[in-house]
Subunit: 451 residues, 2 copies
């Protein structure tokens, strides 16, 4: 199945578009994507997924088999089927840069296109941006906790499908991870890939020392040995014995990996055994149920760990596996729109977010209307596509990663630890112009409801 | 990117396989997949994903571009590249039937194949089975809570990527959902698809009544109207006014959808308004942040809701977004193997699970060795593939769904509510034969470690 198929959508997009076409609701609409509410253990979010979204929009189409299937279902009008057959995305996209830190209620993407088209892309747009933003936001916290230690994404196997593994590798690399175990992420995005051995490698050999030697001979330039299959410290002592023999063959042990038990305690004992054995340069890499809180806690304890493999908890954002986000119609045919549903009311109209800094740190964001001349600061939403064409070359992932790094450096210092209190967040203001617009729209809704 | 690419793997599978080939570790290995520990709010798990796994194994290959990329990386031996170039899956698969209820430590799948091959497929095998089992286990709880009310998967947009949305639609349908909003799931698996309108449809019209009438004219056979955009009860009263006019055109309102606020309170008020307006046959469908606990709570309160759309919390299994599962080498070249890592020790050897019933309910599972003649009951693991060939026609999804339904009917009554205490779980025993085997393997490991 094609991940980028137009069939990756909710049926209601098709039923609505059929009705829009039938009743002539085909004028220009603006939809914006935003997060309503921050998950409990997040102080900031990091926008990710724009480049994959643009690629999706550029190739938007149904293939013959998909179109045939829709036709044969008998549930759609010829008008809709013809529309889908000839479809391409010719709308506008305005967006934050990937890697930008943002906060609730701030639009991160605006789509401006004829209503049926802007509607039709909703599901996949959310599907792409929600997940990658979720993962980048989690991975950024791990990066902040780990300082400059090596961070590797190990999450593919328990990611929610293959595409989740691929996009999580991308989003975590964007947010500051150094590498991934996911080979396809190397193929698709050029992300550095790393990996050495699993417990099965040791078990297949029966003799642990033989397994170590075999591995060293097969991969003399990347000798990272997993030492917790039977007894971690005993394995470290075996390495001290093996090291001279390997050294005589020109092979250096680069690192050991710990994957179970009390990682801090094992790291200290193993460091001691290695150091006493003269293996000062052998690094210790840890994995197993890690997330930003455990990484922070291990480093707070002074555990001598040089790198971390972070898997499932990052790739599923396990403490907050979804964001409360929405893609809402904000303007139709020049008229601002607003939904009033309880606890789900939205700010109407096309919006801009201005960011103000103090001493190099993010100080204040102002959400306002696109044409508000009274607000100042760095405008976070920028045009990226007009009439279906990109305004710039595809963004290089490394450049986006550098931007994400600068964004984390601009975070107020009170936000840097995973356990930072929520009170440390920068101020996010809604401008006077936007509040007035919302009141005007509400008055208009009440008038129409009363009539 | 191909979801079923062999590149959807961890790099260490390739580095290990290269070393296995180099050192002649190519004899027959058996790996088993099992869940180590139940998530906190689960009393049982439901196996799902076997058919997609078999499809993956049947097509296992690298395409030219992928192979080229591996070759050009310069990090792999010619021996490995030749091996990958000519690869196909010619191993054995034994597995539980999809939809089978199971418990921790029970193997759900066993792969028996030459070590490099059984190793190579690990990542995608876990990726496919872990996620689908996660979702089927969650969806089964929702089904139990909802009784025979309509259940629709609404989760695609906040699923973790497109494949997650597709596989979650499949797993939830298997576990007892009636339909999905995901159009691709209809295309790929023939799952019934449903969907009507979003708030944007109402907002684009400006006038809510006009939106309702337009929708009814466009889809006269499926009039389900979203009534919470501005004021839920006011919208219900509008429908009472509109209904006679629509009826005169031969159009019947089938249902209303509530998507915000206190769903139970709104449902009661709306039911009352509809009934007093003579619209007894109009059903009430609810959605918005639902999961099995909220469904159970709404029904416990007697909320007059006829169907539920369950989205994000089911498709991300949000209270438990991953399972602690593992695919472990249990036997190599006829010798049982076992890992001893702290808190991660496994039961060695190839295993079978026997299920015993009492009064039609699952009473006791016994995990034992494959050749234990002393155990009796229904053997849950069955051969499904030999030498890479299926033993049966592909399993029909509807048949698997029927099996899942029977499994839920065989659950002890104490497990049926989402808040059932853990003490209600059936007994899972480890047989005497398996305990003895584990002791023998441990003795062997200690002997070899001491040497």
């Amino acid at each position: 199945m094609r991940n980028d198929s137009l069939l990756v959508t909710d049926l209601y997009q098709l039923t609505m578009v059929q009705s829009y076409l039938e009743h002539g609701l085909t004028r220009i609409a603006s939809f914006e994507l935003f997060v309503r509410k921050m998950p409990e253990h997040r102080n900031f979010l990091m926008f990710s997924g724009l480049e994959p979204l643009l690629e999706y929009l550029e190739q938007l189409h149904l293939d013959e088999a998909e179109l045939d299937w829709l036709r044969k279902s008998g549930r759609f009008s010829d008008e809709l089927l013809d529309y889908l057959d000839g479809l391409s995305f010719d709308g506008h996209v305005d967006a934050m840069r990937e890697g930008t830190v943002f906060f609730p209620d701030e639009p991160v993407v605006r789509i401006t296109a004829p209503l049926p088209l802007a509607q039709l892309i909703e599901t996949r747009l959310i599907n792409l941006l929600h997940f990658q933003t979720l993962i980048a936001s989690k991975a950024a916290r791990v990066r902040l906790a780990a300082g400059d230690r090596q961070l590797v994404d190990f999450g593919l196997r328990r990611s929610h499908g293959a595409e989740a593994g691929l996009l999580a590798a991308r989003a975590s690399y964007l947010a500051g991870f150094d590498a991934t175990s996911n080979v396809q992420a190397g193929f698709a995005y050029g992300i550095p890939i790393v990996g050495t051995m699993a417990h099965s490698y040791i078990l297949a050999h029966g003799c642990e020392s033989e397994a170590f030697v075999h591995y060293a001979h097969s991969h003399p330039k990347g000798v990272v040995l997993l030492i917790d299959t039977y007894d971690t410290e005993a394995a470290a002592r075996k390495l001290v014995k093996l090291a001279p023999r390997l050294a005589s063959e020109g092979i250096r042990i680069q690192a050991v990996r710990l994957d179970s038990g009390d990682l801090g305690a094992h790291a200290r004992k193993v460091r001691d055994i290695l150091d006493r054995g003269g293996l000062h340069e052998v690094r210790i890499f840890a994995s197993g149920n890690l997330d930003e809180c455990r990484v922070q806690s291990l480093l707070d304890q002074g555990a001598p760990i040089d790198g971390f493999g972070v898997g499932t908890r990052m790739n599923t954002s396990s403490d907050a596996p979804y964001l409360d986000c929405a893609y809402k119609l904000q303007e139709y045919d020049g008229q601002p729109r607003r939904k009033l549903s309880e606890h789900k009311a939205t700010w109407p109209g096309r919006k801009q977010v201005y960011r103000q800094y103090r001493d190099g740190f993010i100080d204040r964001d102002i959400i306002t209307t696109v044409d508000d001349a009274d607000c100042s600061g760095e405008p976070l939403l920028q045009p990226v596509m007009r009439h279906g064409r990109r305004l710039h070359e595809p963004q290089d992932l490394k450049a986006a990663r550098m931007h994400a790094r600068q964004q984390l450096q601009a975070l107020p210092p009170g936000l840097l630890r995973p356990d930072a209190p929520k009170t440390e967040r920068p101020v996010v203001e809604v401008s006077k112009a936007l509040r007035e617009l919302a009141r005007a729209v509400d008055r208009d809704i009440r008038l129409r409801m009363a009539s």
